[in-house]
């Protein structure tokens, strides 16, 4: 009989070795896929209208005709909203993680480097001064004037920022961070002037946009945002090893064979695209980009190879949860989702800061 109690030498060395956090992170990925699936089903089932998801599903499977109400609520309202919500949550979380890796700072966020402020300025300009546009242009963009302007603003501010902070082919992260603060202040000041010029209706539009909302989700918006966000996420997971090496510093990363400047360009590009589209689609939704990567780093470590895909999953699930609260807590009215994420995210963020102050300070 084989002596089962005697471990082979191979097992012995394995036991002497620490738990590989990559394995832990892969297990977490499976859990997060499950969490996301549950969140999708719950968001599809619950809402202001008390139709039965299961009843509708039964009808659909048996080939019966759905009622107009069921079709409109499930297919035209809830499903596109869920898809947009998952896309935006994933985009915000992954952009945050990439930006933090790029800046070598766990508190960096696209909101900090002016992408958010630039997008906001674009939206405000479109709301307050949109009436001055030639009628032809107005009818061309229709209700898309604000999203398109937000996207252009975010993109433009990233390009300006990049020009300012890149000299001789090298991007200085410190300059970029400081320039981002300056650009953000400038965008805020111009926005403030425009808010003073706005009339009552414009002010109401502005307030809603700035607090963030998924209420305007349509299939069309999802189809515009989807490819851009999915491409940006796929591209950034390809950057994972480079971002890991960058944690040791730019020089060390270069000595480890990373084409640092090209990698930084790609990271900035993917962040600008994903954040721009996300902000354009839903307005300002804060804290997802900081809290999600932070929580995941605490759970399974900072390896971007697992952090980025997990951030996409958790970001999507988290925003679905926040959206569920925003849709149901004062139903049939809706709370802007930016308020929900701030209420959920800010205390978590402060708690992390207090607990891990040493790691953030250095």
């Amino acid at each position: 009989m084989v002596a089962l109690s005697e471990p082979s030498p191979h097992n012995l060395t394995d036991q002497a070795r620490p738990l590989d956090r990559r394995i832990l992170a892969r297990r977490l990925s499976v859990l997060l896929v499950g969490l996301l699936a549950i969140a999708v089903v719950v968001n599809l089932a619950l809402g202001a209208s008390d139709i039965s998801l299961w009843g509708a599903l039964g009808k659909f499977l048996s080939g019966e005709e759905l009622t107009t109400l069921e079709r409109v609520v499930l297919w035209d309202i809830r499903l596109p909203r869920i898809i947009l919500c998952v896309l935006v949550g994933a985009a915000l979380a992954v952009s945050g993680a990439v930006m933090q890796g790029l800046f070598r700072n766990p508190l960096a966020d696209p909101g900090l480097v002016g992408v958010g402020a630039g997008a906001g300025l674009g939206a405000i300009i479109s709301i307050v001064l949109g009436g001055l546009l030639p009628v032809g242009l107005q009818s061309l963009f229709g209700s898309y004037v604000t999203p398109v302007a937000a996207f252009v603003g975010g993109w433009g501010s990233t390009l300006v920022l990049y020009r300012v902070s890149t000299r001789g082919g090298r991007t200085s992260v410190a300059t970029m961070l400081l320039a981002g603060i300056a650009l953000g202040a400038l965008a805020g000041a111009v926005s403030g002037i425009l808010v003073y010029m706005a009339d009552d209706q414009q002010l109401r539009d502005l307030t809603f946009w700035s607090m963030g909302s998924l209420a305007g989700a349509t299939w069309e918006k999802s189809m515009i945002a989807g490819p851009v966000i999915l491409l940006a996420i796929a591209g950034s997971t390809w950057l994972a090893h480079g971002l890991n090496c960058l944690a040791l510093g730019e020089a060390a990363a270069a000595h480890m064979g990373i084409p640092v400047q090209r990698m930084k360009n790609a990271a900035i590009f993917s962040v600008a695209a994903a954040t721009g589209v996300a902000v354009a689609a839903t307005g300002g939704i804060g804290f997802v980009g900081i809290v999600v990567p932070h929580v995941l780093r605490l759970a399974t470590g900072p390896d971007h190879g697992t952090l980025l895909p997990n951030a996409a999953l958790l970001g999507g699930a988290l925003l679905l949860g926040a959206d569920l609260i925003s849709r149901t807590i004062i139903a049939p009215a809706e709370l802007p989702i930016g308020i929900v994420t701030a209420v959920l995210g800010a205390p978590v963020f402060l708690w992390i800061l207090l607990k891990r102050r040493g790691l953030v300070d250095q």
């Binding site: 956090r21 070598r104 700072n105």
Partner: protein, 260 residues
Amino acid sequence: MTMHADHISLTIGKKQILDDVCFTARPGEVSAIVGPNGSGKSTLLKAMVGELPCDGKLTLNGRSLQGYKPWELSSLRGVLPQATTLAFPFTVLEVVRLGLAAGIDANHPDRPFEALARVDLDGYAGRLYQELSGGEQQRVQLARVLAQVGQPRRDGHPCWLFLDEPVSSLDIAHQLTVMDLAREFAQGGGGVIAVMHDLNLTAMYADHVHVMAAGHTAGAGPAAEVLTDARLSDVYGCPLRTGIVPPDVGVFVLPQTARA
């Protein structure tokens, strides 16, 4: 097949840090760069690895440095910086594995543990890098470099280690451990270039010594020829004598005693 820096000059702002420096390191040797603070020794190393842009010509193994792709260089040359702060809470194992991925034997499961054992950090793999002492962090970084470029020769070409003050934050036993590793790498046919502060360790381990003073070369050659009373006194600005036990000095400890 050498590391050669030909007429290197470098200015930062208006200050000339390196002025027409020529440097050659051969495989099979430990080459040390010594000199007082601000003499340009770390800058010379940074210029030679391409971290700082400079005038002059740099060749590695007979090829211009610009002719290499980043990933070619990373399998041929490892660079140990003076100190490395980490942006995120990586474990020791994860840091060493980053070096492994940059080298040629990527994803060899045992290599990081072997590298850690070589720098006397057995059992540290699961610890968080940020919670280690400065000297331990320095040895983790050396293990990372060894995981990246562990073999002194590859495909008939020598590999290179560039070490910026590799022993400055280490205790005397680990200083010897690390310098033994450097010598072993050189004896295997690789090249080692190290910026050194400790003249005793330099005399013990360096085959070739390059003395820097105010951005110039103040002497280069075998340790016994270069580390002379006159040159050291002149370069460091204080009266120094080699190989003399001064009378009535009380206790002193030489690293040489541990390997005598």
